[in-house]
């Protein structure tokens, strides 16, 4: 195969695979909507998933948020001091954590922890015929396996993001107050003056959207798993990689949209 036609074939095939993948995600989303509208939400399973996703992910997002807030403060304080703006560190860290770092880093950590678990659990059930067993008993796999996880993620993610942001701000406050002897009133005053509910809302809205994306992508990888343990492992890896990349890309466009709705620095 010569160079231009070979390149065209490969890129055409890749594009077709991408379209097929989008089609599969759309079909899964459609089944989810049907399941959601049926009103059978299996609240016990939702509660179990909230415990597994929300409660179980707290340590991960707290550590991520706290150390991100601390290191961001540590690095920015030194530079801001050169310009004599060190008192504004609280405001800068707060807005950055609320609008970007909190939701994105919490999302990436949850994609690694929860997305991988979702893909592995459902994938193992698929290759051991447990998903077929559900179907044989007249239970749609999306109703039983995906919808409870989806609802649990939609509930848990905004709170996890808020928790990550809170601990990030607290760590930032500790660094400035005890590391640099900045009067805490200065820090708090600037932070509260320049951070409003819209900033926190943006973080929580992003968490909500990321939660839906992680669940959709990871459950799809689980349901599509084939070829035994190797297939489950590959699906789990893909779930984390695709979720993380999609989240970073979607974050950019979501930031444009949300900054349009809630403009920065209007207070």
């Amino acid at each position: 195969m010569d160079f231009p036609s070979g390149l065209l074939t490969v890129s055409g095939r890749t594009f077709l695979h991408f379209l097929a993948y989008l089609g599969q995600l759309t079909a899964l989303m459609q089944e989810l909507l049907i399941a959601f509208r049926s009103g059978v939400w299996r609240l016990k399973l939702v509660a179990q998933q909230i415990v597994a996703i929300g409660y179980g992910s707290q340590a991960v997002v707290i550590v991520t948020g706290a150390f991100t807030g601390a290191v961001f403060t540590f690095q920015s304080y030194a530079k801001f001091k050169d310009f004599g703006f060190e008192t504004t560190v609280g405001a800068v860290v707060s807005v950055a954590l609320c609008r970007e770092l909190g939701p994105v880093l919490a999302g990436l950590m949850v994609a690694g922890r929860v997305g991988a678990a979702m893909a592995a659990d459902i994938g193992t059930m698929k290759v051991t015929e447990q998903v077929d067993a559900l179907r044989v008993m007249g239970v749609h796999p999306v109703d039983y396996l995906v919808l409870p996880r989806f609802i649990a993620m939609m509930i848990s993610m905004p709170f996890l993001v808020a928790e990550s942001i809170s601990f990030g701000l607290f760590a930032s406050y500790l660094v400035t107050s005890f590391g640099y002897d900045m009067p805490s009133a200065w820090y708090l005053n600037h932070m509260l003056e320049h951070t409003n509910m819209e900033d926190l809302s943006i973080g929580m809205i992003k968490g909500f959207v990321f939660g839906m994306l992680i669940t959709l992508i990871s459950c799809h990888q689980g349901l599509a798993a084939e070829n035994g343990a190797v297939g489950v492992g590959a699906g789990t890896t893909r779930a984390v990689v695709i979720s993380s990349l999609v989240m970073l890309i979607v974050n950019f466009f979501l930031s444009l949209l949300l900054n349009y709705i809630f403009p920065i620095g209007t207070v």
């Binding site: 015929e129 447990q130 179907r135 044989v136 008993m137 007249g138 039983y144």
Partner: protein, 267 residues
């Protein structure tokens, strides 16, 4: 008690007379996976209360044929009727009434790892809307007693032997009073005693509940013990269809080689 004692005098239940209506009907069913044509024009009729064993070399499409009946796989061409309903025209969510009539025992039993034996067995009842706790307990106990597993109701599937897992699968298949059970290699991986116990269970189900059965098996001893009719699948087609006696007396060399375990390969 780990395993019940096998019986020494098994007899298959009487075959259905010719006047009974067809319960399962396959008409010209074709299925291809990639380049491999697995089913090539399968025609088969099964009447209420009949027990059909499907035999044939590995990889010839026995399980694929069975999965077509319960709608887990759709044919490329042909029609499948279950109790008069054209199943391959139904969507996944429309299959539920058919799957209440027909259940399936998977080769690995496909029990849910996170549920105990009794929770696995109660699963179809709960999913089909039975809410009365006493009714569920009574029916679970009945089903587990029928397969001699009442003592193991609180164990998880990982704590069960292969035979016990398969018997749990049978209990789960019969608890919602299915009219037909499809067994995918119920004796595979079991020792001769365990295999005989499963055969006894199948015979007991047939006698007690007049269940229509289709059994995919490689165990010729089981075939002669439990079947009314035998179908041999060879190269995607039904090579033989008849009673166990007709199978024994068949003058087809391929049939005789298979049932006597003779290979053409010489060392």
């Amino acid at each position: 008690m780990a395993e019940p004692t096998p019986s020494t005098t098994p007899t298959p239940p009487a075959a259905n007379d010719g006047s009974a209506p067809a319960f399962i009907e396959l008409k010209g069913v074709y299925k291809r996976f990639g380049k491999q044509e697995v089913l090539r024009g399968i025609n088969l009729t099964l009447k209420h209360g009949e027990t059909l064993c499907i035999i044939g070399p590995s990889g010839e499409g026995k399980t694929v044929m069975m999965k077509h009946i319960i709608g887990l796989i759709k044919p490329d061409k042909g029609e499948i009727f279950v109790d008069g309903v054209h199943v391959n025209r139904l969507k996944e969510r429309e299959m539920a009434p058919i799957r209440k009539k027909v259940s399936m025992l998977f080769q690995g039993a496909a029990l849910f790892d996170n549920l105990t034996v009794e929770q696995n067995v109660a699963f179809p009842l709960l999913e089909h809307g039975v809410r009365d706790r006493k009714e569920i307990d009574r029916r679970v106990r009945e089903a587990l007693q029928a397969v001699d597993l009442d003592e193991h109701r609180t164990k998880f599937p990982t704590a069960l032997s292969g035979g016990m897992r398969k018997r749990t699968g049978i209990a789960r298949a019969i608890i919602d009073h299915s009219e037909c059970i499809l067994y995918d290699e119920p004796n595979s991986g079991l020792d001769p005693i365990g295999s005989d116990i499963i055969d006894q269970m199948i015979l007991r189900m047939q006698r007690r509940f007049s269940i229509t059965s289709i059994i995919v098996t490689h165990d010729m001893r089981s075939v002669f013990k439990i079947s009314n009719r035998v179908a041999m699948l060879y190269r995607g087609e039904i090579r033989f269809l008849g009673t166990p006696d007709e199978l024994k007396n068949s003058d087809d060399k391929i049939v005789q080689d298979f049932i006597n375990g003779r290979s053409d390969i010489t060392c």
